[in-house]
Subunit: 696 residues, 2 copies
């Protein structure tokens, strides 16, 4: 019965969509839609669960033998699926284990604080002998016994507030809660203000009992859950010793010169994360001034700024770092028509522990997708363009594996990569969501119209739209493997999947949690595979690369309007980004002409393969207009004028980062120059549009 | 040095104010301003503290010997001050003590819950042997052992939400937190939904450690603080057995027929309040569904809707009620010119325990004011109108003493009372605030311009304005002794004073708390006395009663606009309150003419005393246009069309209650009729304005 209904809805979809498939003629669209339907009906829905269970049998931190075992499983699976699999080794400056650490209250009474999640009877994974204590990679090594100061989320504003209140952190141990920014900035600001150490904990108000039932009864952190995570905050992304260069192994003849670790501004103070159960032993003994209202968390007493002199805490971290071997894996399904045009999908495979949602729900989905696409190819349906499926290593330490690979193949990627689709933790729940470069938004939305959302009568598109006419697609921020592709190399990127509850970076993010709370019926893995496979095939088989060329102009217009509003907040007389606005108008006109001309060309008949390759190369080049050779003021490795992660918080997305930085600095004087820089980039893009027009 | 500065600022005030003193000619204004300055310099600043300390030596609940002792002290003090003191006894159906009560967890394990605040070493008052356990007056008597259901604040909306969620309270013990409405409504709604009992507690998120440091370290409830309070919710205010009639003692020949207690809809289920420390023993054992996000409180676990079948709670309340003697005290300083025109100031004196802020900071201030005014009279400066200083009893049980007195003297009050000024807990902190009938707003604001705000260089007016051009004056809601004056008898009323931290209705609201947290330097008592004395003298000595006659029209216009906006929320095509709007326009015109004519009359020369008396009677009659003989749909005792307490929550203020009720009911059909009713009242007021004009 279920199968019949599915077929009906697919046919309905067929009729509806054939008219209107970006990058396809009406005739080609019919063939493509049928191919996509065949693809989806070939998905073996049990594979996701099988892969997930195998991938997450053991904790597998980057650089450990356990992670090499996971690598081997991935290589074997992709190979069996029929992809050409390559492994890319690097040697990266990092640590693969917590080293030694200790947090204890010394006075008024000695209490050694727990640093690891307790084993739970319900969860058989939770007493795995290889599980590690909580730790923050790239902590400094050191030891301090001192009074404590609470710094709320440890944001720039929070440390400024402490100064305003006359509370010094100099020589103190700062205790800050997770949230509000990337944890590395908590360490950076604490150290900059003279703190001698930093303890980071998860407050129950942010992610514990105040929010809802805790694990294993619910999906929120219990009193022993600890968020692990990297603290790396260099002016670039990737291995800290080899900016711009791939960190090839030392025995590779192309191994680059490495920076000295002392040169790259790594944190020097000891930092470690704890649970709120452990933090309670510190907080409840604090005796200083009452915190500002918004700093109050969910523990059952009034929070204080200072611990006072009676409360001494001892913090020790000894975390040796060394050159460590890590491995990316890339499987290629070679395109039959345009093998040198690449659709790249990727997810990292290293994890802080088991990584059931983060990242391996994405890995398992990619392995199943490899099998389905492999089967399709074997049956004679090899895609026109190449589809590359990548598994990155050492993402958790600082988005390292993918960044090194992009640095290694930057020129090739800029010439060949049609799109990068990031799938980190892509099947972590039941809410579809996505963030994307403008040119990929339309085709992503179209793909989700083809896929049924499980448990409902809706398509993914409808469910994702939540009753609105269209779904909302976000802007790409920091925090995962699209960074180098998008912000360093200018490859149009998107990140998508299904999100949900999370025991983020704790030892509890395991198969038991997944099976009981994330998706007990394992329906979402196949759904995300169906969406991402449909999208990939559509990108791969379109006669012309199906970018939405108009979207750049419309999105730019909106983002410049926002920027102007923000500028006027500190500079009321600002005359506006006139040069850029005028450039956007021109771009808008040209882009609409290009879209129309492409559509006409598609319907009027085939181009020669040579003509099509030329046109595709032109389309591929569009996004590169946003690459600024000088990079951003806060880090020249970040080349994209269009998007960046927020350099003051790490995770948030900055659109038009050149302007955002001036806005953050409230700098009126540079706005004119940045207007010119942006106008130049937009006019360059406009020039490329006109070239395309002239060629059609 | 301080004195010199004060004099300078007074002189500055003199020059500024003499021009512009509502109800006074320029010449009279000069004399009056000097008199007021003399009054303020006569205040003996130590008296407030002395009275407060004496009044709050023992807990003194209405109907107890301890409260009679307080009554005697008040009578003696007022008498010594030179006022004519009368005592007005009533016999009221109530209980003066908690009776017997018990709250215990029965299963899974028996725990008897604390029902009284623990004694604190720091606070010598806190182990007074006469202190009582926490209780809610007008609880039903009964006993139940049952499962529990959490009902958030126990508002109408909260019980509706429970129904929507499929959670029945039938036969269960409801546990609800204080806040959001008058506690009597929690009991009313719980009983209406079939609950067998109700436990009310104060959540730390609303008033405990989540807000700030707890007593005795700070001003928020500690884990043993219990809010006492009445549950009385009849369709009228005052003694439940004698609506409309004064509850004169049974031995008085005018003692009214009393209703039978079974007729008046008193609560029948047992209800008792507990602390969050006690509530914790119940909450932490609840095992049902997770509450909606906003229902989560500050205790350290996720709140649940149901306790589940393993958790049984035993609640017992045996609270006998009987006719109980209570006493109002009214001291009169007879006016020398218009003795039959009354300025009435009042505050209740009964308290749930010591009552240091609530109410006796108001009582102490009124005793000191009596002394200062008495001294002034003795020195030949008796006011022109009579000033009555009232001390009400049994306010805590349901605003009973004042309501009975208003019922007893309703006709006289409607003919004579110029204003009622309520001073319940009037010196509870350092933030001046006030709510008022429109006609009294201007003169109150003017009076605060004459008084220095302690600890600063500002006047009370400036401090109260908080940097704005004008202070904000609120609308009078429910909850204190102005109700019968304003809403039943139509006497223009205001309520004002200094507010601050509060240990509301706990045993800790004592002199220790006052001295350490409310106003350690005891400067605010004399300040409030200076404001209220200045205001009273200004009201008492003006040639014409100094109402702001224009304010009714301007305030009405605003309130009708608000009401229209609210109506349009459920009735988009609503044509507006056309009849009322047109009436307000006429009123606005006439009122401005009256204001102008009064000013001219003042400057042009004296009226005869007879003429002035006639004019004052006309002014006094203005507010009575808002009295609607049929009363409000939710209770015919509430006569004012202008203001009421919200019948669904008890405390909040309803302006234009006839309309507010229809809005709450989303009843489109009656709006037209209410428009006519309001238009009639406003035209009646307009007619009185025209009569005044014609007489001038």
């Amino acid at each position: 019965m279920k199968i019949v209904l599915t077929s009906l809805s697919l046919l309905a979809g067929l009729a509806l969509q054939a008219q209107n498939l970006t990058g396809y003629s009406s005739d080609d669209a019919k063939t493509q839609v049928q191919l996509e339907a065949d693809f989806r009906s070939s998905i073996n829905k049990s594979r996701f669960k099988t892969h997930l269970k195998t991938l997450t049998e053991n904790p597998h931190i980057a650089g450990t033998p356990a992670n090499e075992k996971v690598k081997d499983y991935i290589v074997k699976s992709m190979d069996a699926a029929g992809l050409d699999v390559e492994t890319y080794p690097y040697e990266v400056f990092m640590s693969s284990s917590p080293g030694e650490s200790l947090v204890e209250v010394i006075t008024p009474e000695e209490i050694v604080l727990d640093q690891q999640e307790r084993a739970l009877e319900e969860d058989p994974y939770s007493d795995h002998p290889e599980l590690k204590k909580g730790w923050n990679a790239y902590s400094g090594s050191g030891e301090v016994t001192a009074e404590v100061v609470y710094a709320n989320y440890g944001t720039k504003a929070d440390f400024e507030k402490l100064e305003e209140l006359g509370v010094s952190v100099k020589g103190k141990i700062v205790i800050a809660r997770y949230g509000g920014n990337f944890r590395g900035y908590k360490a950076k600001f604490a150290e900059a203000h003279g703190a001698a150490g930093l303890i980071i904990y998860t407050d129950p108000k942010d992610s514990g009992f105040t929010r809802g039932l805790v694990f294993p009864e619910g999906v929120y952190y219990n009193d022993s859950g600890i968020q692990r995570g990297s603290l790396l905050t260099a002016d670039w992304t990737g291995d800290p010793l080899t900016p711009y260069e791939p960190a090839l192994p030392q025995d590779d003849k192309n191994s680059p010169d490495r920076l000295d670790p002392s040169e790259v501004g790594l944190h020097t103070i000891p930092v470690t994360p704890i649970s709120y159960g452990a933090a309670d032993h510190i907080f409840k003994q604090m005796r200083g001034e009452v915190v500002p209202r918004k700093w109050q968390g969910g523990l059952p007493y009034t929070y204080r700024l200072q611990g006072g002199s009676d409360l001494k805490v001892h913090l020790k971290v000894d975390q040796p770092k060394q050159l460590t071997k890590v491995f990316n894996i890339v499987g290629t399904l070679k395109g039959k028509t345009y093998p040198e045009e690449w659709i790249i999908l990727g997810c990292h495979y290293d994890a802080w522990a088991f990584g059931a949602t983060d990242p391996n729900s994405g890995t398992a989905m990619l392995l199943s997708l490899s099998e389905t696409l492999g089967k399709l190819a074997k049956d004679g349906n090899r895609p026109d363009r190449s589809i590359l499926i990548a598994h990155w290593d050492a993402e958790e330490h600082g988005v390292i594996g993918s960044s090194e690979w992009v640095e290694q193949f930057k020129d090739e990627l800029q010439a060949k990569a049609v799109a990068y689709i990031n799938l980190d933790a892509a099947v972590s729940g039941k809410n579809f969501r996505a963030s994307s470069a403008p040119s990929l938004k339309t085709i992503l939305a179209e793909a989700t119209r083809q896929v049924d959302y499980p448990y409902t009568e809706e398509t993914v598109y409808e469910h994702w739209s939540r009753g609105n006419e269209q779904p909302s697609i976000g802007n790409l921020g920091g925090g995962s493997d699209h960074i180098a592709f998008y912000m360093h190399a200018g490859v149009p990127s998107l990140s998508g999947g299904a999100s949900g509850p999370t025991l983020y970076h704790t030892n509890y993010d395991d198969f038991y949690f997944y099976e009981n709370f994330v998706d007990p019926e394992f329906q979402m893995g196949p759904m995300v595979e169906a969406v991402m496979g449909t999208l990939s095939l559509r990108l791969a088989n379109a006669q012309f690369i199906p970018y939405d060329v108009v979207k750049y102009a419309t999105d730019l217009e909106m983002h410049f309007q926002n920027a102007e509003k923000q500028v006027k907040g500190f500079y009321a007389d600002f005359a506006g980004f006139k040069a850029s606005s005028s450039a956007i108008s021109s771009l808008n006109e040209s882009a609409n002409l290009v879209a129309k001309a492409l559509k006409e060309q598609l319907e009027s008949g085939k181009m020669s393969k040579k003509q099509a390759k030329r046109l595709n190369a032109q389309l591929l080049a569009l996004e590169k207009s946003f690459l600024n050779p000088e990079g951003m003021p806060y880090g020249d490795w970040y080349k994209s004028l269009y998007a960046s992660s927020d350099p003051f918080s790490g995770y948030a997305s900055w659109i038009l980062p050149g302007l955002q930085y001036q806005i953050a600095m409230k700098d009126k004087d540079s706005l004119k120059a940045w207007d010119m820089t942006y106008a130049e980039a937009i006019l360059d893009l406009n020039g490329k549009m006109i070239e395309i027009l002239e060629g059609l």
